[in-house]
């Protein structure tokens, strides 16, 4: 963490900034996963984080939400330093992380209840919200099934319910649409749009450009642990489509043939 900087410096920006990342850096051994990454997510924005595999999206979001200790840099959630005052900051964040398990020996209903209670909510509030969320996400029928028996898409949805139960001001969703069926994905998209309209902020990581272009109003292109471009979707894509712009920024597109031994005819 950056030296003497005490981190609670309240600049006027914080009123409108839902998430501010300053110089986040993470190394795994010799490999630099994220390098001095800075990003500003305005309050009320629907922010897309796109990048190729291994670009550092998950690492960045983990550091932003207090799941992974950064080697350097800071993360502010509505002006609160995540790594100085983690308990306060985490109250404001709903987090769906990729690549971690859930307590899958609980039923879906129990799991969402568990998350609500961990945030210190009252039993009645939790019960009410759990019922709403299960209905919203089409999981009522599976409420009493152990999460371990859920399909991949259902697991994503229940994890999303867990992230939403405490009515966070900022939603951080890592690959929320992976293996979710189109109908549920559309439902989730509607819900997120409504959430943003109601004053919430969403940041999603994805590598489906089309989805990001349709859904998000802001986007940041990340590659090799750095932000290559960021701003509103229109600013970033300019005249071309987001996908073309992305390929242009990231590079690496090639038309080489596969190795000969992979061709069977």
């Amino acid at each position: 963490m950056g030296g003497n900087e005490k981190g609670i410096s309240m600049t006027s920006d914080h009123a409108v900034t839902a998430l501010e990342l300053r110089g986040l850096t993470k190394r795994f051994g010799d490999k630099v996963a994220v390098e001095a990454l800075s990003l500003t997510v305005p309050t009320g924005s629907f922010y897309g984080l796109v990048g190729p595999n291994g670009a550092g999206k998950t690492t960045t979001l983990s550091m932003a939400t207090g799941l992974l200790q950064p080697d350097a840099g800071q993360s502010f959630v509505h002006g609160i330093d995540m790594w100085q005052r983690p308990l306060e900051a985490k109250q404001l964040v709903g987090n769906l992380s990729d690549g971690v398990k859930l307590f899958d020996r609980l039923t879906g209903e129990q799991l969402v209840t568990y998350n609500g209670l961990l945030f210190g909510m009252s039993r009645d509030t939790v019960a009410e919200r759990v019922a709403d969320l299960l209905k919203l996400l089409d999981l009522e029928g599976a409420a009493g099934t152990l999460v371990v028996d859920y399909s991949a898409g259902m697991t994503k949805k229940i994890a999303l319910a867990c992230a939403l139960v405490h009515a966070p001001k900022l939603l951080v969703l890592d690959e929320p649409f992976e293996s979710v069926d189109p109908v549920s994905a559309a439902n989730i998209r509607d819900m997120l749009t409504e959430y943003v309209a109601g004053g919430g902020t969403v940041i999603v990581s994805s590598h489906v450009m089309d989805l990001v272009q349709r859904m998000c109003d802001h986007v940041a292109v990340v590659s090799a642990g750095r932000v290559l471009a960021s701003g509103t979707v229109d600013e970033v894509r300019g005249e071309s489509s987001l996908e073309d712009r992305f390929v242009e920024l990231v590079g690496g597109r090639h038309h080489a043939e596969g190795p000969a031994w992979l061709r069977h005819s």
């Binding site: 971690v100 398990k101 859930l102 020996r105 568990y114 209670l117 945030f119 009493g144």
Partner: protein, 526 residues
Amino acid sequence: MVATLLKLRFLVLRNSLRRSTWQLVATIIGALYGLVVLGLVVVGLIALAFAPQELAATIIVLAGSGVILGWIVIPLITSGIDQTLDPARLAQFPLPLSKLMIGLTVAGVLGVAGIITSIAALAAVATWIRSPLAAVAAIVCAALAVLTCVVGSRMVAALSVSLQSQRRFREVSSILIFIPLILLGPIIVGLTQSVRTSADALPGIARSLSWTPLGAAWSVPADLAAGDAAAAGLKFVIALVTLALLVLIWRRSLAAALVSPHAAASKRVARGKIGLFGIFPATPAGAVAARCLTYWRRDPRYARQLIIVPLVPVLLWFYSNNMGSLTLLTFTGPIVAFLLALATLADISYDGTAFATHVADGVRGRDDRLGRVAALAVFAVPLVLALTVASVAIANAWPHLPVLLGLTIGALLSGFGLTSVSSARIIIPVPAAGDNPFKSAPGAGFTTALSSFATWGILIVLVLPEIVLAIVAFLTGSVLIGWITLAVGLVLGSVFAVLGIRLGGRVLDRSAPVVLSRLKALRGAA
């Protein structure tokens, strides 16, 4: 191919040691301890060369049988078996079964436990050095015995995996099946006792054991030294047949394990029922307690730890019956308390990456610790108190009740405090949720056993005041000191529990993200 498997095995061990200084320290302490014990054993075996032949035979057969039994049984109760080369994980490669078996056997012999056993077994050659024929036979039989150990433990591991893949055997049954196996010791001793007529217990038991699969290999050189070639030949055949049978069973269960992948558990709970979450207080700590207790019920990895509860009284009852005094039985309470308190010494490891929920939701370390302790306490406290009172009632040893209660309560409460700290620090590879509870995770075994061992040692130190008082109370028969033991157990235990929860909570507050990273790394390796 065998060499590749071996390399893999040592790589996993090295990498798991690299990850944490704590585990390295535990490993070094354990290794030193092991070396000292091994040294004593070797010296003892050499010294036996100068002892009467009958005595040497008795000791070697008894100890050797114990070693084989240990190899087969210990993995079941402590998950200490080295399953680095898990057959289920090797299933995707086109390895011929026999090559796989050879690879696993060699890796087992060259494992830490295998090397120690081999050295000790070879040291037994020195015992028979006065009779060259017996010494030569001892070399062959040492190899036979070590192979029996390794193949036996692999067989049990493979057996448990193949049972696992049949859904019905899952959860409780996979645990119950092994209870008779764990009680094998008392059963064999019981049988041999009823058979023997001689006045001297131990040589008699040794003689009976020498005709069983456990002792046959060890007893061949002894019989040769005594000039009984016929008995030696017969026992050699028994040992060979034993090994052949073990290989056969192993081969069959391994083949089954390789073709039937793990089936997912299927369990449904009525909708709208949130179970324990509706009963425990609606606070973060209460929620953690409800979740943990749900896991104790639903997750076989936790349930496995409860086997000891019925086993300890049975074992103690058996041995106190043997000794003709029920005093031993009355220690059921303290022993179960000691073991139960330590059951959660690496609790967070069992969460796996699901622990991310606690980190992301900003659960305070104190609430996390308190919840886990509460979940255990809810059933452990009444259980150990009931066991203590019941065992005292059976033994009609009412004057000892305060002392025993003091020990029980002291051990349980101090253990709560200790595991609150240890489970925030010790991250060990454990079977993933849904895996066979007896199947050890890759790289476990050694480090697991050692970190448990170190934690056990610390708990003994914490309970030392109660232990000393108890000894004094037993020696003097003083009722007053008995009551003092109870008071000390309550007060000191509570102090340790509170301190442990606070300290563990602070450790976790500071290091929760680091703990999560280590858990992720473990899963990544697996």
